[in-house]
């Protein structure tokens, strides 16, 4: 394990920010730390990095106990914080070079790494710019470059796509995959389930400072009873239709949202044909019908009773 967190407890007076939080990260994977805003993701990262003190628990990074002066461990870590953290009066290149210099002493190697990082985040046209002259997306790229320029073995990315336009977001996500392909282990915190689904090998779902479940995308979805959702819209209203749909085999729940009926199924393999049979038997006309596999939001919903973005 490259990171091992065991029973971490962090209190802010009466508030419990981390409640016996545990997780493990394997070398070479992209681990997604997924949870709604304020669930304790950033606090967990800051405790793992020894930036924050904690009340209880143990943290091991790269096989050693993590402490604020564990400089040998810090040398192998890269951090991309949620907020852009660069020097406002240093140019793009100077910022990247400064942060690289904190890890790499050799000047020629440093120059090479800085160039690579600039290419990686595609900021070549902006190397002489001050951060205040950059757009939000470009600033985020600079923020990433400063965190990964020294080619760390372990990278923490704390919601790097928050407040970023779609184009920059895709660019950042592709870059993260590339970093992982080049050998870095990545811990990625997000509240965007699409990102976690697309990017991460394994996911830890957090809520209220607790680690609820962890596993691969498929493993997590297999943990819940809902295996399929079918959304159907009928051309006319029919009293008592929800009750009758509920009698179809394997249906768990039927809800109505803006005229659409959302039907949750469990473990059935003929759910659509069962539903079509029901429609024909009842002489109903449908204008829309499609099937959806469960998402991480469904996993979260079933575990906590609320959506990820509620």
């Amino acid at each position: 394990m490259i990171v091992k967190v065991d029973n971490l407890v962090k209190r802010y007076k009466e508030l419990i920010a981390l409640d016996h939080f545990s997780m493990e990260v394997r070398e070479g994977e992209i681990l997604g730390l997924l949870g709604p805003n304020g669930c304790g993701k950033t606090t967990a990262i800051n405790c793992i990095l020894s930036l924050l003190s904690f009340d209880k628990g143990e943290v091991e990074v790269l096989g050693k106990k993590m402490t604020p002066d564990a400089y040998d461990i810090k040398r192998q870590i890269g951090m991309v914080p949620q907020e852009v953290a660069v020097f406002e009066n240093l140019t793009v290149k100077e910022n990247i070079d400064y942060f690289c210099g904190l890890y790499i002493d050799d000047r020629s190697l440093r120059r090479e790494y800085v160039e690579e990082a600039i290419d990686f985040v595609e900021l070549k046209d902006y190397i002489g710019f001050y951060p205040k002259k950059l757009s939000g997306g470009l600033k985020r790229r600079l923020n990433i470059a400063c965190g990964i320029v020294h080619k760390p073995r372990l990278i923490f990315l704390d919601e790097p796509t928050v407040a970023v336009d779609a184009q920059s977001r895709n660019f950042i996500l592709e870059g993260i995959k590339k970093l992982n392909r080049e050998g870095s282990t990545i811990i990625y915190t997000t509240h965007y389930l699409e990102e976690a689904e697309m990017l991460c090998n394994r996911i830890v779902i957090m809520d209220n400072g607790k680690s609820l479940v962890s596993g691969t995308n498929q493993e997590l979805k297999a943990m819940i009873t809902t295996t399929e959702k079918i959304i159907v819209r009928f051309s006319q209203d029919d009293d008592g239709i929800m009750e009758r749909i509920g009698d179809i085999p394997h249906v768990i729940e039927v809800t109505e949202e803006d005229g659409d009926y959302i039907i949750k199924f469990e473990n059935g393999i003929n759910n659509i044909s069962n539903l079509l049979e029901f429609i024909m038997e009842n002489n109903l006309i449908y204008t829309k019908l499609y099937s959806q596999l469960p998402t991480l939001n469904d996993v979260f919903l079933e575990l906590t009773g609320k959506g990820l973005r509620d």
Binding site: L52, S53, P68, Y71, D72, N89, L90, F99, L102, Y130
Partner: protein, 351 residues
């Protein structure tokens, strides 16, 4: 050593390009000194102008007054005295009975009154007028007046020598994980906090000393005021002022979680207030405090710098300057120790 040098270079660039530093460290002091120069040049120039005293041709004291270089006798008939006073042709009129007519109150009028009083006294004592050196006495008085204004300039130099306080605040804020995003980021890197702070202190001192040097060159060559005649002590006092300033900045920066802007305003307000007490806005404040609360002048760091600069440069008096320097050093040590108590924690309860 390499780490220190790299940090000095990059922190130096960060400070040097900061408009706040440029303004408060360099432009503001030059504006202030220029403002004081313009505001007080009228008063200080009095020392260079003659006093025009009107009197009638046959006035017996005219022969005495003619011996005083700074006095210019203007022959004015008694009946035209008021008109000449009103038109500003003369500063005062002395009649045969040594009565004085003035139309204004000011140093020149006070001096005319003083001269006449002296003549009256010499007359009453039946002492020969030749024995009295009017010029020596009154020139000394006028210098005293001008020197009071110079207190303002020495106080100003004292104040700006402590302006390393701003870079001190900036440095400590950048180093603290619970104060800035960069601080949080730096705390995760292998960079030791003390290396970053030490580089910041070097940069703060270097830049503020440079800014002080430019201000002194401005005073010397643009305003043509030769204020620092005793270089050795002056330099030591200015360096100590810089060290005190950066120590104060580090203490202010480390002691609370307010924003850099709030801390900077606090630093400006506190240095300005201490400078005010040391006579920056008006020498009268300093005189009143020296008379009624002398301890304040001895413990106020800005007054120590300003007063010591005044004494060593104008009066050639180095007595007690060593005590002042020791006090400044002590203050700096206390502030650095206080800051260390805040900074020594290795991680944070909250960020």
């Amino acid at each position: 050593m390499k780490t220190l040098l790299r940090n000095c270079i990059y922190q130096g660039k960060n400070v040097y390009r900061d408009m706040g530093f440029l303004f408060w460290g360099l432009i503001y002091p030059i504006i202030l000194v220029s403002f004081f120069y313009i505001a007080f040049s009228g008063i200080s120039n009095i020392g260079l102008e003659d006093i025009d005293i009107g009197m009638e041709r046959e006035n017996p004291i005219s022969a005495i007054l003619e011996t005083i270089d700074m006095v210019n006798i203007v022959e004015v008939p008694r009946k035209d005295a008021n008109r000449n006073l009103a038109e500003g042709n003369i500063d005062g009129f002395i009649d045969e009975d040594l009565n004085i007519l003035v139309n204004d109150s000011g140093i020149n009028q006070t001096m005319i009154k003083g001269i006449v009083e002296q003549i009256k006294q010499m007359n009453s004592l039946n002492r020969p007028m030749e024995n009295y050196d009017f010029e020596a006495n009154y020139i000394a008085d006028r210098d005293q007046e001008a020197n009071g204004i110079l207190v303002i300039f020495y106080s100003l130099i004292g104040m700006v020598s402590t302006y390393s306080v701003f870079a001190g605040i900036e440095t400590v804020s950048l180093a603290q994980g619970n104060l800035t995003n960069i601080g949080a980021r730096l705390n995760i890197t292998p960079l030791k906090k003390k290396d970053f702070l030490f580089a910041g202190i070097i940069v703060a001192l270097a830049f503020n000393l440079l800014a002080n040097g430019l201000l002194l060159l401005f005073i010397e060559f643009v305003l043509k005021m030769n204020l620092l005649r005793e270089a050795r002590y002056s330099l030591a006092l200015i360096i100590l002022g810089n060290i005190f300033g950066v120590s104060l900045g580090i203490f202010i920066g480390a002691s609370n979680k307010q924003s850099i802007g709030v801390k900077t305003m606090f630093a400006i307000a506190s240095t300005l207030f201490l400078s005010f007490l040391s006579g920056l806005m008006s020498p009268d404040i300093k005189i009143i405090l020296d008379k009624n609360l002398p301890i304040l002048g001895r413990i106020n760091p800005l007054a120590i710098i300003g007063n010591s600069l005044y004494r060593v440069n104008l009066l050639g008096n180095t007595k007690d300057v060593g005590v002042g320097m020791a006090l400044l050093t002590l203050y700096s040590i206390i502030l650095i120790f206080g800051a260390y108590m805040f900074l020594r924690r290795r991680n944070y309860d909250s960020i």
